[in-house]
Amino acid sequence: MAVDVNSNKYTFFFAAVMVVVVATLLALASESLKPMQKENVANEKRQNILASIGIEVDAADAEEAYNTNLVRAVVVDANGQEVADPKFGAFDIDVLKDYKAGLSNIYKKNAGDMDGMKSALLAFGDGGVNYPMFVLKKDGEEVYVVPVVGTGLWGPIWGYLTISSDGKTVIGAVFDHKSETPGLGAEINQASFQKPFEGKSIFDESGEYTGIKVMKGGAKGSEHGVDAISGGTITSNGVTEMIVRTLKIYEPIFRQLQGQASMVEEIEMPLDSAAIAMDSLNVELRDSLGLSSN
């Protein structure tokens, strides 16, 4: 039985069979393995959050350790105000997915224009963008873990920054990446890059928000700077961008922690009434966060 393998009929037949077989195999593999993959991803997230407050655990113990250390998880909107009944719980918000689904474009378009960015963020999707924040216990104090996400040279980069209970000092940072260059940008997931973040401050002495900048060589002695990776300039710039931009969203919360009035916010508000509304919101937030205004 000789089949002409080069006839049109056979070619179509072969292509059709191949498509069906390959698609079935891939779909089968993807679907049947999805629950385990999701569990792995969730555990990695817990591990990362714990690592940013200095606790290293195995994936198997991550869930338990996370639950013991977690005080509460909050969801905030683009104004840095807590959302009363969020659509997703804080842990279920996938910041990386949101980032890819359109936030990256908003950030890029409105770079340097905070007001424009905020209004775009508040109008995003239905109900605006939600940002998660995890409050954990460390040495008896409450610390605040914030996920950050941005773009490196080849693809997305992300991480967690932990701010201490004083609202301005970084006490831990972890970063990871999808596909940065090994030995260069990929070094951001190494302790030698992450350690120097500890003890840095995201506000300067006059109380102005600065964030933390990853700088080439110039970090010596700076309160707000960390040494960049040589040869990994674009990745380093990406880290700076994501930290400065993301922490800015949470700025009102950090300011409350510092017991300062959010002066900057008030000045930027065009209307007195808006400022008053803001204040009352702040009070509400403070109450709901269970913070005392010291």
Binding site: A29, P182, G183
Partner: protein, 238 residues
Amino acid sequence: MSEVAVAEVKEPKEPLFSKKNRALISNPMDDDNPITVQVLGICSALAITVQMKQAVVMTVSVLFVLAAGNVIVSLMRNLIPNRIRIIVQLVIVAALVIIVDQVLKAYVYDVSKALSVFVGLIITNCIIMGRLEAFALANKPWPAFLDGIGNGLGYGFILIVVSFFRELLGSGKIWGFPVFGQKVGALLSDGSLATEATGLYALGYVDNGLMILPPMALITVGAFIWIQRARNTKLIEA
């Protein structure tokens, strides 16, 4: 199709490791090296030779995909229509890589994290397409398997040599372990960062930062070719 089949039946059975089959493994190591002679798989060789660890992971992945892809294509060689053979080969390779990645993601998450960076690089690695096209399509599964192993090893050999020099000269490390002493800011075993340089660094030695940049991979491979051809003069181009 019938011609090929007849020709194969008439061949006398040869032992599994005949001279011809052994050459399939040994040739790609030197005379017929995929990178330095066949000019295949350069992109990935440049992208991941900054550290030895990455080079080894990549070698193992390519070895696996190349051997498995070669065997599958060779088994199907009389069924694949000529006109769509390239697309068929690509789909086989891509499906293989994706399935492996999915399985690793579910069962050995750590390995998958290390590997996922390479998934794209493996699929487009022209060694795989080149060998499928040039060898597997015209040969029986066993020689095709050996050809896959041989070329994978030949490829890995260059990767490991190049990454050895780039890691040593570029970051002063071998397999992640510092060999020239401790730099300022390096992570110490107790979790703190070093404040004083030791070893060669204390004497003023500085890592050659250029070595970790991609252009130096090209120049290192160029130097490797120079050495190889000085030894093996029959490879010299006119």
